[in-house]
Amino acid sequence: MLKFALGRLVSAIPTLFIVSVAVFGLIRLIPGDPASLMLGDLADADALAAARRSMGLDQPVPLQFVIWLGNVLQGDLGHSVLNGQPVLDLVLQCFATSAWMVLIAVGLSVLIAVPLGMAAAWKQNGGLDLAIVAMSTLLLSIPTFWLGLMILLGFGLKLGWLPVLGYVSVTRDPVAGLIYLIMPVATLVLHEVGIIVRMARASTLDVLRLDYITHARAKGLSESAVLLHHAARNAFGPTWTLIGLILGNLLGGVAVVETVFTIPGLGRLIVDSIYARDYAVVQGCLLFVAVTYLLVNLLVDLLYPLFDPRVTAE
């Protein structure tokens, strides 16, 4: 187990290097000079040159990369051009904000979607199955910005049950923070349930077709015993992998939901920084997202044997 984990971490190093090169290069391929953006219509040649110099953009790009990489290896992701804050502080702060929302949302999605998916598979082609599949297709198809806005207008404005504005961090005021998260979490849950339920259904169907299920039924076991004791664990494996992918993606930021619900999370930070051409923040965020993604997937793989003993760490 430990050897496997270490091996994965070591193999992550070239991946991260490639990611850092790609991120560094891509951000500089986008048109739009950070110095121009900072000075706006007050720019003149001297001011532009001075701004570029202070941002280190007057150096050759490869040299910029070497300097940046050297700093990153010392734990220094640089400073935001926009507000002067250390990038690492900014990223961790915004990540914590996003993570609270995402972890709650994914947790709830799993609790709702997996039982529904299994029920749909069990009653394949029946009314319940059709209803669940139709509902999941619908939820899957609705864009989160529209869904979020409808929830905001409905429950926040029309009914007045939930706060439209006034984000409060969960760590500062747990009750107010959780109340504020209800609508964004609901938006994410409704969308993710649509995805997870289909995977849970599909993998449960595959399992239900296997011979050992037939054997279990032949032994005279009840349907609930067949589902819960025999089918569930095996069916959950592929769904678990999908959940890991979803979690990795969402932890990288849910910019749209964060914008609609005015949540200062990682996704919004990335989008705002791209528009502002705040290179240091974009580079730092995307590198952080890559690391997060790798770690989440490692965790998923390490926990996989819990559901499928055939897969071992050796």
Binding site: D41, D44, L152
Partner: protein, 516 residues
């Protein structure tokens, strides 16, 4: 049982009443679309940041509604005969937010610190590279500050009052930490800088000991009486969410709303829409070095094909004021001569096209989605140009990319907004110059440059007026760009708010009341 909003409010009100001595702070909740960049005036700023910070800091002088310069922290000043020495006499009884009384030594220290800072946005206004150099700042006695320039500069006080320069706001040295790094403004304004949660918002609190002077608010000056306990700025990037916040009562003021969104609210009672032109310029720029656009007849043809009044009416949803002069609508120099503008004449446009020898070449209009006004302007202009027989097309860029094209001069026509300029000379200075030296220059004419420089040096109002009148006549004749209107700030305030109005892009919160 579910609690409706009125029931929740009733519960909260009951709870508040039940607790003796507990009083709800009278908080004005204001939307900002992006967080401020820093709290240091004049450094690492943008228009949104200035609009917040200038409620907190004040300079020696302040710009009034018409762009004139008024006393603020200085109660009066004299200028030497050679125009190089300004002697400011400070007001008595001005207190910093930390309780200290402001002295001439504080002013000297603060001004030196600011204008010598390499990051100061307006460094070139004061270091001699653009206008006069500030040779020295001296505290002659406890109430007198003497500023010496290396040469006369009629714009010196205007520069000091510029929003982009943080109004050269005077801050106490305790605004900086022991390590010399900026902490937060300890200034003299009617609001104090309160808690700032990055990415979420910030709070300004009423400065109870503020020394009120003047009879009524006047631009950045005049009477600054704070009528609420605090102003809380909430970062709400999404317009739809902000409007929902306004309707739910979570927000009281949306200072900068796209005109179309504000127009939707005009039909609803209880919401007050305030729209005011400022000193910025809403334009369509010509690249006069372009083969096609270098022909003045071609440019005149385009102008004749554009119904600029109709364009302004449409893109501002009836809230804007057309202005074809670079002298702002609200400026005291905007006389009847500057009301003379473009004439919409499609027939004349065709005649001018023939004269220019136009053969259907492609005309590219650059625009962006960041500004609804720029985008809509380009759409309507394209239609009008096509109606006049021109092969116009639109290219929509992201703002950062368009800015690159602006700075490099690589465009034919560009829908573009310039930020606020508090004086007509600054507006002309912005667009006039040498393309060889400054590629984002629009109007390259040596005689015009000379006139602009004269306006920058002239202090006599009548002589300045004559210069501006001359410049306007040349502007109409040479057509270096299309001036549509001054920048427009559209704000909406909710039912509990009284007295809010925007001015020069500044969301000003003294004189604004909120009922409970």
């Amino acid at each position: 049982m579910s609690l409706s909003k009125p029931a929740l409010r009733a519960l909260w009100a009951s709870a508040a009443l039940a607790l003796p001595g507990l009083a709800l702070a009278n908080t004005l909740n204001v939307q900002i679309t992006a967080d401020i960049r820093s709290s240091q005036p004049g450094i690492n700023r943008d228009a949104g940041t200035d609009s917040v910070i200038l409620n907190v800091v004040e300079g020696l002088v302040a710009a009034g509604e018409k762009g004139e310069i008024h006393p603020m922290l200085a109660k009066e000043w004299t200028v030497s005969d050679d125009g190089k020495t300004y002697t400011f006499t400070l007001r008595d009884g001005v207190t910093f937010h930390n309780g200290e009384t402001m002295t001439a030594a504080d002013v000297q220290w603060s001004l030196e610190k600011l204008i010598r800072d390499p990051e100061f946005s307006c460094k070139t206004f004061f270091d001699g590279s653009r206008d006069a150099k500030v040779e020295s700042i001296e505290a002659k006695d406890a109430h007198t500050v003497v500023v010496r320039l290396d040469r006369p500069d009629a714009m010196f006080l205007n520069y000091m009052a510029q929003a982009q320069c943080g109004s050269t706001g005077i801050v106490h040295r305790s605004s900086f930490g022991e390590d010399g790094k900026w902490k937060a403004p300890i200034a003299t304004g009617p609001f104090q800088f309160g808690e700032w949660k990055r990415g979420e918002g910030l709070t300004l609190t009423k400065f109870a000991k503020y020394a009120i002077s003047g009879e009524k608010p006047d631009g950045y000056g005049g009477r600054k009486e704070v009528l609420v306990d605090e102003v809380k700025y909430v970062v709400v990037p999404d317009t739809a969410t902000a409007v929902a916040g306004l309707k739910s009562g979570a927000l009281d003021v949306l200072p900068y709303l796209p005109p179309g969104e504000a127009a939707k609210l005009s039909g609803e009672k209880d919401f007050t829409i305030v729209a005011a032109p400022h000193g910025g310029l809403v334009t369509m720029l010509f690249q006069t070095a372009d083969p096609l656009m270098s022909n003045v007849d071609m440019r005149q043809a385009i102008i004749a094909a554009l119904d600029t009044a109709q364009i302004v009416e449409s893109v501002t949803y009836g809230l804007g004021v057309p202005n074809n002069s670079l002298v702002a609508s609200g400026s005291l120099y905007h006389t009847a001569a500057h009301d003379k503008g473009y004439t919409y004449d499609p027939a004349a446009a065709k005649a001018l096209l023939d004269k220019a020898g136009y053969k259907g070449e492609k005309i590219n209009i650059l625009t962006n989605r960041r500004s609804a006004i720029n985008y809509d302007t380009a759409i309507i202009a394209q239609a009008m140009l096509q109606a006049a027989g021109m092969n116009a097309e639109i290219e929509v860029l992201e703002w950062a990319s368009q800015l690159d094209r602006f700075n490099s001069g690589k465009y034919q026509i560009m829908a573009f907004n310039y930020s606020n300029r508090s004086d007509p000379a600054l507006a002309y200075q912005t667009v006039v110059g040498s393309k060889a030296k400054k590629p984002n220059t629009v109007w390259d004419d040596p005689e015009v440059s000379t006139l602009v420089n004269q306006a920058l040096q002239e202090t006599d109002q009548a002589r300045r007026q004559a210069i501006f009148d001359d410049l306007h006549a040349r502007f109409l004749a040479q057509a270096p760009l299309v001036m549509l209107a001054n920048g427009l700030d559209v704000g909406v305030s909710g039912p509990k708010v009284k007295g809010y109005r925007t001015w020069q892009g500044f969301a000003r919160f003294w004189g604004v009341e909120k009922s409970q």
